[in-house]
C-alpha cells in the first residue's frame, strides 16, 4: 500500500449471524476491508448479500436476532493515532461517535424520519444532541442553511413541514441534511439514491462529490447500481452471499474483472449507451444463508466450478497491489 494513505476504518474478519426461527442466517462470513481517509469506498452486491449488514455492523447497529459474532472494526479517529475498536465500545460511547463523526444515510427516507416532528426539528435534534447548538430554536435557523446545501426547494417553508408533506426525493434530501449536520468524518450512505429519480440522483451524487471534496469527507457507499459505482467510487468491493469476492480500484475492476460473479454481474447490467443484443444472466438465485453452500458460496452458479470449490473456502488472493480476489481460479 502507498504510504501516504491513512486508513480511517479497518474491518477485520467480521462475522454476523441472525438467529431466526428458521435457523441461523450466516449473513456476514469473514469480511475484511480497509477504508482510507478521503476516498469513496463502495460495497456493491445484490439484495441479501450482506452489504447493509456490514455497514450497520460498523457502529454496532445490529439488533437482535442479529449478533456480531467476532471481528474488529478499528476506527482511526485522528490520522496516525492509535485506533479504537468500535465493537468494543459501550453503547454510550458509541452514541457520541454515531451521528457525529460517523453518520448514516439510509435507504428508505420515510423510515428514517419521524412522522411526528417537523423536518427542522429533526435536523436540529441531531445537532442539539451532540452539543453543536444550544437550543432547538437556533437549530431551525441552521436547518434552513443545511436544507439549502442539499438543494431542497423552498427551504424556509420546508423546515416547518412534516415528513408526509414532502416527496420521497425531498425526504431523502432532508435525511442527507441530517447526516451532514454535524460535519462527520465518515458518511455511510446505504443506497442513498435508490428512491430518487435519475436527474435528482445525479444532482445528489454531484452534491456528495462536492461535499466530499470541501470537507475531506470519507464516504462508504453501498449500492447495487453498477453505474453509480463507476461514477462515484475510488475502490470497490463486490459482495456475494456474505463475503467479499473481489476488491479493486474502480478502473481496474471494470476493465479487468476476475471473479466469475463480478464478470457475470457486469454482463448482466443493461448499458444505456450501448446496444446490447442479448444480456447474459446468471442462472439460479442467491443461496439461502441458513444453509450456505460449502466451499465457495458462488460455486452452484459458477460455470468454472471445480471439485475444490465445493469443499474449500477460497483464500484472499492479491493479484496486484490494488486488486484482490477470492477464487480458486487464481491460486
Amino acid at each position: 500500500m502507498k504510504s501516504e494513505r491513512q486508513p480511517i476504518i479497518e474491518v477485520k474478519d467480521l462475522y454476523v449471524n441472525f438467529y431466526t426461527y428458521a435457523g441461523v442466517v450466516k449473513a456476514i462470513d469473514g469480511v475484511s476491508f480497509t477504508i482510507y481517509r478521503g476516498e469513496t469506498y463502495c460495497l456493491v452486491g445484490e439484495t441479501g448479500c450482506g452489504k447493509s449488514v456490514t455497514a450497520k455492523s460498523l457502529t454496532k447497529l445490529i439488533r437482535p436476532p442479529g449478533r456480531i459474532e467476532k471481528g474488529q472494526v478499528l476506527y482511526y479517529r485522528e490520522p496516525g493515532k492509535e485506533p479504537i475498536d468500535l465493537l468494543r465500545l459501550s453503547e454510550e460511547e458509541l452514541r457520541k461517535i454515531r451521528g457525529a463523526e460517523i453518520s448514516y444515510i439510509f435507504q428508505d427516507p420515510s423510515a428514517s424520519l419521524d412522522p411526528l416532528y417537523t423536518i427542522g426539528y429533526q435536523i436540529s435534534e441531531t445537532m442539539y444532541d451532540h452539543g453543536v447548538i444550544s437550543s432547538i430554536k437556533e437549530g431551525f435557523l441552521k436547518a434552513v442553511d443545511i436544507l439549502k446545501s442539499v438543494l431542497m426547494p423552498d427551504p424556509e417553508t420546508r423546515v416547518k413541514n412534516y415528513p408526509h408533506e414532502l416527496s420521497g426525493g425531498m425526504k431523502q434530501r432532508a435525511v442527507i441534511g441530517i447526516s451532514l449536520s454535524n460535519n462527520p468524518q465518515l458518511v455511510i450512505a446505504d443506497e442513498p439514491t435508490t428512491a430518487l429519480d435519475a436527474t435528482v440522483q445525479d444532482q445528489i451524487m454531484d452534491l456528495l462529490k462536492k461535499l466530499k471534496k470541501e470537507k475531506n469527507l470519507t464516504v462508504l457507499l453501498i449500492t447495487h447500481n453498477m453505474g453509480l459505482v463507476a461514477d462515484m467510487c475510488d475502490r470497490v468491493a463486490v459482495m456475494y452471499a456474505g463475503r467479499i469476492v473481489e476488491e479493486a480500484d474502480v478502473y481496474e475492476l471494470f476493465k479487468n474483472p476476475l471473479h466469475p460473479y463480478t464478470k457475470a454481474l457486469l454482463k448482466a447490467v443493461p448499458n444505456p449507451v450501448k446496444k446490447i443484443d442479448k444480456l447474459e444472466s446468471i442462472p439460479g438465485t442467491v443461496p439461502n444463508l441458513i444453509y450456505p453452500p460449502p466451499g465457495c458460496r458462488f460455486h452452484p452458479r459458477c460455470q468454472y466450478a471445480m471439485e475444490k470449490c465445493k469443499t474449500e473456502r477460497p483464500p484472499e488472493i492479491w493479484v496486484s497491489p490494488i486488486h484482490r480476489v477470492s477464487c480458486w481460479l487464481y491460486s
Binding site: 445484490e46 416527496s167 435519475a198 445525479d202 453505474g227 476493465k255 444505456p272 442467491v286
Partner: protein, 323 residues
C-alpha cells in the same frame, strides 16, 4: 407500415384534488398523449416518478377512465366497448405489475393463482394440471412448484409466476409496469430475456414502462419519453438513444451513470437544475422551460407542438421546427 395494434389519441386524465368544500384543482397526470404501438413490437415508456407513466399504462387497459381522449385497440375505442367485446378485450390485454410480492395472493397455491383466470373466462381445459405445468415450463419453472405458496418463492420466481398467470389467457398486448425494478440485476436479466423470448414466440406486443434507461434500451423498438404528463419525444429506440432531440431527453440520458468508469466520468453531460414541478399547476408554455438550459422567449408563453422532426421521430420543443 401496417395499422397499429394500439393507438392513443389526445389522451388526458385529470385527478381532482379535493378541498374541504370545493375541488381545489386537478392533478394533470396525463395531458394530451399520443402514440402508437405496432403488433409484435415494444414501446418503452420512460420518465421520472410522477410523470404519469403508470397512469398511461392503466388507461390503455381501461383500468382508469380518461378525462378525454381515445385509446384504439385494433381500431376500436376501448372506452366504448361493452359486454362480450369488453370481456374479450380484458382477456387480450394484460398487465404485469412492479411488485411481485403484492400481486400474488399469499393464500393461494401457484396452481390456483395461474388457473384462476382460466376459470373466470370459463375456458375449456381438459387437464388443468397439465395446462398449468406447461405454462410453468414456459416461464422457466417446473411441476415441483405447482402446489407451493408464493412466500416460498424469490422475487424473480414470483415475477415468473405473475407472467405465467397472464399467459394462461393467451394475451396479445401486455403492459409491463416496471416489471424488474424490484429484482436484482442477475435476476432482472433472466426476466428480461424471458420476456423477449416470449414476445418472439407468441408475437406479443408490449408497452414497457420503466425508469431504467438501460433496461428500456435493451427491450424497446420504440421509445416515448414522458415529462409531467406529456410525451416530449417519441421515436425508434436506437435513434432516440443515439440522437436525442429534446433537452429533457438529453438531460435524462446524461444523468444515468454508465456502468463503465472510463465513459461515465468523461461523458459530456447536460445538467438541469431542480426537480419536476407539481403536475397540479404545471408551468405554462413548455412544461420543461423552468429547468431548460436552452430556454427561449417563446417557451414560457406557447406550448410547443408535437412535430415529426425526422421520419418517425417526434419531438415537442420550440428548438425544432417542422422541416
Amino acid at each position: 407500415m401496417s395499422t397499429p395494434l394500439v393507438k392513443v389519441v389526445e389522451l388526458k386524465k385529470y385527478f381532482p384534488v379535493k378541498g374541504i368544500f370545493f375541488t381545489k384543482g386537478y392533478v394533470k397526470a396525463v395531458d394530451g398523449v399520443n402514440f402508437e404501438i405496432y403488433k409484435g413490437k415494444t414501446l418503452g415508456l420512460v420518465g421520472e416518478s410522477g410523470c404519469g407513466k403508470t397512469t398511461v399504462g392503466k388507461l390503455v387497459l381501461r383500468l382508469l377512465k380518461p378525462t378525454s381522449g381515445k385509446v384504439l385497440y385494433e381500431g376500436k375505442d376501448i372506452f366504448k366497448l361493452k359486454g362480450k367485446e369488453l370481456k374479450e378485450f380484458r382477456k387480450k390485454a394484460q398487465m404485469v405489475f412492479q411488485d411481485p410480492y403484492s400481486s400474488l395472493n399469499p393464500r393461494m397455491t401457484i396452481f390456483d393463482i395461474i388457473y384462476e383466470p382460466v376459470k373466470i373466462y370459463k375456458i375449456k381445459v381438459s387437464d388443468p394440471e397439465k395446462f398449468v405445468v406447461e405454462l410453468l415450463y414456459s416461464v422457466g419453472l417446473n411441476e415441483s412448484h405447482l402446489y407451493r405458496y408464493p412466500h416460498e418463492f424469490s422475487g424473480g420466481q414470483r415475477q415468473r409466476i405473475a407472467i405465467a398467470r397472464i399467459l394462461a389467457l393467451n394475451p396479445e398486448f401486455i403492459v409491463l409496469d416496471e416489471p424488474t425494478s424490484a429484482l436484482d440485476v442477475s435476476v432482472q436479466a433472466q426476466i428480461l430475456n424471458l420476456l423477449k423470448d416470449l414476445q418472439k414466440k407468441m408475437n406479443l406486443t408490449y408497452l414497457f414502462i420503466s425508469h431504467d434507461l438501460g433496461v428500456v434500451r435493451y427491450m424497446s423498438d420504440y421509445i416515448a419519453v414522458m415529462y409531467l404528463g406529456q410525451i416530449v419525444e417519441y421515436g425508434p429506440a436506437e435513434e432516440v438513444f443515439e440522437k436525442p432531440l429534446h433537452p429533457y431527453t438529453k438531460a435524462l440520458f446524461s444523468a444515468i451513470p454508465v456502468p463503465d468508469p472510463e465513459i461515465t466520468r468523461k461523458r459530456e453531460k447536460l445538467k438541469v437544475p431542480g426537480e419536476p414541478p407539481s403536475p397540479i399547476n404545471p408551468p405554462p408554455g413548455c412544461r420543461f422551460h423552468p429547468r431548460c438550459p436552452f430556454r427561449k422567449e417563446i417557451c414560457d408563453k406557447e406550448e410547443p407542438e408535437f412535430i415529426e422532426y425526422e421520419k418517425d421521430h417526434f419531438v415537442k420543443c420550440h428548438l425544432y421546427s417542422r422541416k
